[in-house]
Symmetry: C2
Subunit: 454 residues, 2 copies
């Protein structure tokens, strides 16, 4: 494709950029909170509507027990290879609601950014990719076929998607796949990640009595909160090291090339000190912090609750206590094996009374930097941004990457509309419009590059 | 007073026992949850109405910043000594609401018991004492004057009562005082307690960031829940021993007489295994368990919360975590001193970032078994129940006992309508009507005994 043709694609995107904002504003109003099983129907219908509007013929596929999967196909030529584009139409819960500056489901542009739950993670990426392929198609010809795969329960770990994927491997098999979209850094340099960490999320529950008691008899009756805390204490050292036997077995060790591009990466996790008003740990240099961020597995308390948590004070010895935990895992670690090790650990430490419910599992996954899809996106980023992107071996979040890699599809992050301060999963989630415009162009260029490389 | 006159008092009580149930049913409908600042006006008005109905001239006294104190006076003769009767019209919160078998504010008789929040703790005691004094007065003559003192915020630790009591010592000064009412055991034997433990309740809060984050960056950002747990861990050993330096300073050691009546006490904390569906700790014999229950100070987690506690799973690294704690203290321990030691402890252990808010303070208090009010009640119990009551040096809960003892008034528990399985502070609070009827008679007999002893 000539520079002139590339220019036409980018002009098309500039011309329709307001459509992107308008369509994302419409899409962002659907409160598809999967953790609360909200608006699944409305969310799937809105996804079909958006895809159809950009010429991707979309259909809903029932996922037993879960929300529909939406699949949008753009078939240029049956002989061409297919690029799969994975996103999800569900979003995270919005609490604490009172920390939002505007209604999380009334998207609003302020200071060049669009605020609403899901505009970053990941409705914005879906709409951006829909527009990108339309730009390529309507100014010329797609060099690949495309398949949008849009999940409705990613934020709760896609609990129903795995058996569905087993029954429909053809949806996940492709020449390559992009998963959602990578972030920009503070100064707008794009990131590109070639995989994702895994996750095991669980809920622990402990019951020490049939019913809560007046706290005056806590002299001789066990307290569920103390019991849960005692169990949690056996899991993790204060410095973050996880104490479950065999937890680190098989963990990936970075090679020279990986450490080399990690060292060239200009992004510093220390930036989160400003974004989140906190102290960033992990080391004294940018490289140390980045290495800690990439190669640390975590055990995070996502939530804990027991007893009276309302206004004032209730003197009660609680009978039950709960904690939601997630373990972020790096390639080589196996969440199902770690779940078994967690159960064995609790038994061995004398906490057989702690009930463990598995909430979600994603395997970690990674695709090499030398893979054609990696190279196509890196080249597109160089073209649109005029410089090398920051590279990471995987994103620090978990994703459905392994739904694709497990059936042999190289899978990496798509060029994304978000930025690292975009507060995904937190109040005031947003995207910067300047990032979004570039991400759409990058996606279009990457589609062209990937087609040429085949 | 002759046996015949005593008989007339008891017959009066039997005749009006239905009034007790009806009046308590009316009183129990007022949802005076002080922790939620509910129905203070309605609660004070209902208290005045009940006292007036039984001939105790009642008035409301404004307590700066808090709900009104209700004071009801029965003055037989200015020259007679005064017995003060302390109760409270506020109640505990009702959650978890779904564990209640009937509406907590629609008192209901089932199987010989009256169920509702507060019927045991302690609206039932107030109505029982109102009826008891009416029985003595209307069948003869009161040998003492009476002063009902009815608090509106006991369940939150009476935070506004102390300065009020400093300004009105005359309300707390008396020949003796009874505080609420002691429980019966499973088989209906009455308990009599001669003081109360103290309490220090606090709320801890820790903030590790300005805002919650996606849990994927918990690799390098501290987690508020883990931080709070680390702080809590320094406070208490798993066996319940409290690790704050100087916590046990000055703690009362039981003498021979105390251990002797404790050994004769037939009640076994093991009974709570059935009541609460739990495992009772503290020792292998009844005496060991009772001693553990009496002489153990506690650090109880009344509530803990952080992060996402709703349905499903949210992968969030929480920025803030909270815990409500209470320390139950035995005579000799000083809550204000322990509060200072707690702050010093957290600083010394490296947890200066943990904020501590004092919620309530009650000093422990004890009155000797040889005191006239103790002897009057013990004799009344022997008469009504036909056997020796179980004696305890103090109740395991905290109470306003020290508001009276600190101005020189011997103060003990009144004969109470409740029983040890009455689920105070928990769902399905109730009293057994057979216990209540005997408690009313005991109060009447104790008033007569106390008057004769003067």
């Amino acid at each position: 494709m000539s520079p002139g043709e590339r220019q036409a694609v980018f002009q098309y995107i500039d011309k329709r950029f307001d459509d992107f904002v308008a369509d994302l504003t419409e899409y962002g109003r659907v409160p598809t909170i999967s953790a609360q099983e909200k608006a699944f129907e409305e969310g799937a219908a809105a996804t079909v509507r958006i895809l159809d509007r950009y010429g991707a013929k979309a259909r809903r596929m029932p996922v037993p027990g879960g929300p529909d999967l939406v699949v949008g196909e753009v078939v240029e030529d049956e002989q061409l290879p297919t690029l799969a584009l994975y996103n999800h139409y569900d979003v995270q819960p919005v609490d604490p609601l009172d920390e939002w500056k505007s209604d999380p489901f009334r998207p609003e542009v302020r200071g060049g950014a669009l605020y609403a739950r899901g505009v970053n993670d990941t409705k914005g990426n879906l709409v951006s990719q829909a527009l990108a392929q339309a730009a390529v198609r309507e100014t010329g010809r797609l060099p690949v076929n495309l398949r949008f795969v849009v999940d409705g329960e990613e934020e709760v770990g896609s609990p129903h998607l795995l058996p569905f994927a087993d029954a429909h491997p053809e949806l996940f098999r492709a020449a390559a796949a992009t998963i959602e979209g990578s972030d920009h850094d503070e100064v707008g340099r794009p990131l590109f990640t070639m995989g994702s960490k895994g996750i095991l999320s669980v809920e622990l529950a402990v019951r020490t009595a049939g019913v809560d008691q007046h706290s005056s008899i806590a002299t001789v009756i066990p307290n569920a909160a103390w019991r849960l805390i005692a169990a949690l204490n056996t899991l993790r050292r204060e410095d973050g090291r996880i104490l479950i036997k065999g937890f680190y077995d098989g963990t990936h060790k970075p090679g020279k090339e990986e450490l080399s591009y990690l060292r060239r990466n200009t992004w510093d996790p220390k930036a989160w000190e400003t974004t989140y008003g906190t102290k960033v740990l992990g080391g004294r240099t940018r490289f140390e912090r980045l290495k800690a961020h990439m190669y640390s597995s975590t055990c995070t308390i996502d939530g804990i609750w027991s007893g009276y948590t309302g206004a004032g004070h209730k003197t009660v010895n609680p009978a039950v206590a709960h904690a939601k935990l997630d373990f972020r895992l790096i390639p080589g670690q196996r969440p199902e094996a770690i779940f078994k090790k967690l159960l064995a650990h609790l038994r061995a430490k004398g906490f057989a009374d702690v009930q463990v419910e598995k909430h979600s599992v994603f395997e970690p996954a990674a695709t090499p930097v030398s893979s054609p899809i990696s190279q196509a996106i890196i080249a597109a980023m160089k073209e649109v941004y005029g410089r090398e992107p920051n590279l990471l071996p995987w994103m620090s979040g978990s994703s459905t990457t392994w739904y694709f890699t497990r059936v042999g599809t190289p899978a990496v992050s798509g060029p994304g509309v978000g930025w690292t301060g975009g507060r995904i999963h937190a109040p005031n989630e947003h995207i910067r419009l300047v990032d979004a415009r570039r991400a759409i162009k990058t996606t279009a260029a990457a589609i062209l590059n990937f087609g040429q490389a085949r």
